[in-house]
Symmetry: none
Subunit: 312 residues, 2 copies
Amino acid sequence: MKSVVQRTGLSPHVIRVWEKRYGAVAPRRTASNRRLYSEAEVRRLLLLHAATKAGHSIGTIARLSDEQLRALTGWAEEPAALPPIVNGHTLPGDPSAGFLARALETVRRLDARAFESVLLGASLQLGCQGLLQKLIAPLVIKLGDLWCSGELTAAEEHFASGAIRNFLAGLSRPFTLPENAPALVVATPAGQVHELGAVLVAAAATSHGWRVTYLGTSLPAVEIAGAVWRTTARALALSLVYPADDAALPAELTTLKRALPASVAIVAGGRAAAAYRPTLEAIGATLAEDLPGLYAFLDSVRQPDGVTPSRS
Amino acid sequence: MKSVVQRTGLSPHVIRVWEKRYGAVAPRRTASNRRLYSEAEVRRLLLLHAATKAGHSIGTIARLSDEQLRALTGWAEEPAALPPIVNGHTLPGDPSAGFLARALETVRRLDARAFESVLLGASLQLGCQGLLQKLIAPLVIKLGDLWCSGELTAAEEHFASGAIRNFLAGLSRPFTLPENAPALVVATPAGQVHELGAVLVAAAATSHGWRVTYLGTSLPAVEIAGAVWRTTARALALSLVYPADDAALPAELTTLKRALPASVAIVAGGRAAAAYRPTLEAIGATLAEDLPGLYAFLDSVRQPDGVTPSRS
DNA sequence: CCAAAATAGACCAGACTTAGACAATCGCAA
DNA sequence: TTGCGATTGTCTAAGTCTGGTCTATTTTGG
C-alpha cells in the first residue's frame, strides 16, 4: 500500500526508515508482510512531515504523541481525508504560510501542477469546508479584484478559472449523495461572463449535500428556466460577477422569474449582485453575501422530506 | 459466453484468473462446462474492474460484497453496463455507438450523475485512448452538429460541456508526468466561444505525456502568446469550432504568430479549422483533422533534447 | 476439421521488504 | 578554522509477493 501512502508526499524509503530507526509509526502488516497504514497513521505521517519541514529534526519528534505534534505544527484540525486517488506530492512547506499568496504566485507562473499542489495541501490542512471558505472563496474574490484593476491578465484569469474548476470537480466527485438529495441549478444569466463564482457555488452546494446541475456562464433566461423545470430543481443559484451595469440584465431576470416554477427559490451572489439588488428583490431572490450566507439559504430551502445528512 | 462478457472490458484470461485465484465470481455452468454469467455477475465484474482501476488490488477486494464495492468506487447507481445485447451477434463493429446514444440521452435529461456513469462505463471498456477517440470525440462532434442545427439547446450544450470537462479533468489527474515533459498551451483565439474542443485536446495531450497549460476560450492573441512565453511551451494548440466566418480571426492569428517564439509549433483543429486554412498555412500551423492527427503532430514536435535521463 | 472455450501451469514485470552502504549536513570540541 | 561523530535522507542488492499474460492441451459445437 505504499502507492497510497504517497499522498503524504514522503518517499517510500523515508517512511520505512522513520519506522525502523525511530518507530515513528507501527503499521499493521498483511499476511505477506506488507505494510498496511491506517488513516490515523497517514495523518500522523503528514504531521511529522510538516514538523520536519518546519525545522524540527525527525529524531526528536518521532515519538511524540499526535497531540504534541499538532501543537508543534499549529495544525488546528484533523486534516480531512482526501480522495485517495491523488498521487501528487509536495506538502505545504509552512503550515502558517498564506495559501492565498502561494496560490496567486502559482497562477502568475501559469503552473498548473504547482497550483493544484497548493490547493491539495490546503484541502488537507483545512478540510473541504475550510478549503472553500478560507482559500477558494477569498482567492476567487482576489482574482476578481486583480482582474478588474488590470493587474491580472486575461490568460491568468482563464487559467485560474480552469484550474480551480478542475480541482473542485475532483473534490466533489467522492461525495455520494442520497437518492432524495434536493436539486439545485447553478448558472449565470446571459451577459455574465465570469464562471468562477458559479463553480464555487456548485462545489459548495455539492459538499453541502445537494445534487447540482451546473450550466455554466451566460445562458438566456429561457434556457435556465427550462433546465430548472427539467431537473425538478428546488432552487436556482445565480452568480453575478461582471459586468455590474448590464442594462439588459434586469429584464432578463424578470423573464427568468416568470418562466420559473413558483416554488423554486432563487439565490444570487457575487461581486455584482448588490448592483442589481432592486431587480433581485423584485423577483424574490435571496442575496447571499458569502458562503455561510449560501449555506443558510440552502438549509432554509431544503425541505424536511430529505434528512439532511450534512457533511463537513 | 465469453464474447458477450467482453462488455466488462476485461480479457477472458483475467476473468478466469479472478475466478480461480480469488473467487471473485462463481458463474453457473452449462452441461458442457461453459461459464454462464448472470447480469448481476457482469455488473460485479464491472465494479471490480472499476475498483482495480482506482488502485485497489484485486486480491483484497475480490471477496467484498457488491455493496462494499459500490461504496469503494463511489458508484451510487448501477454501473452503466453496455448495451443489453444478448445472444444476437450485434457486437463487434462499434460498442461505442451504444455509449454515444446513451450519453446523448443523459445530456437531454441534464442528468449529471447518469452522464458520468456512462462515461465511466465507457472508460472502463474502451480504455483511456478509446474513450477519447471513440466516445468523447464523436460526442463532441455530434453535440456540435446538433447545436448548429438547433436541435440542442444552449443549456444542454453548456451542461454537456461542463460535465465532459469535469470528467476529463478527473481522468487526467492520475497522470504522473516526468519532470521534463514537453509543455503545450491549449487555447481558443478571441471570438471562439466553444470550449469543448479545447478541453478534448487538453485531455488527449495530457494522456499523451504532455504538460498542458489550459487557457480556455476566447483569448486575445497577445495573451496566448504571453502564456506560451511564460510556460516555455514547445507547442500551441488552437481549437476553432465556431464561428467559422469570423473576419477578425485571420488578423488575430497573424498577430499571434508574430508574438510567438519562432520555435513554437502550432496546431489547429476543430470543425471550423478548415475554413481558416489559408491563414493557418500562412502562419505555419499544422491542421489536425482528428485525434490521431493531433497525436502525430505531438510526436513530431516532441524533441529529443529531453531524453529523460531518468535521474535529476 | 475448425473456432471457441475450458484447464493447468509457466512466465514475467512491477511493487514491496530487508539489510546495509553511502553522502550530505549539523553541532561541538579542539 | 578543522575534524569527528551523530543525524538523516537516499540508494543498491537480493529475495518475495502479486497479478496479468501466455502456452499447451483437451473438450465442445457447428
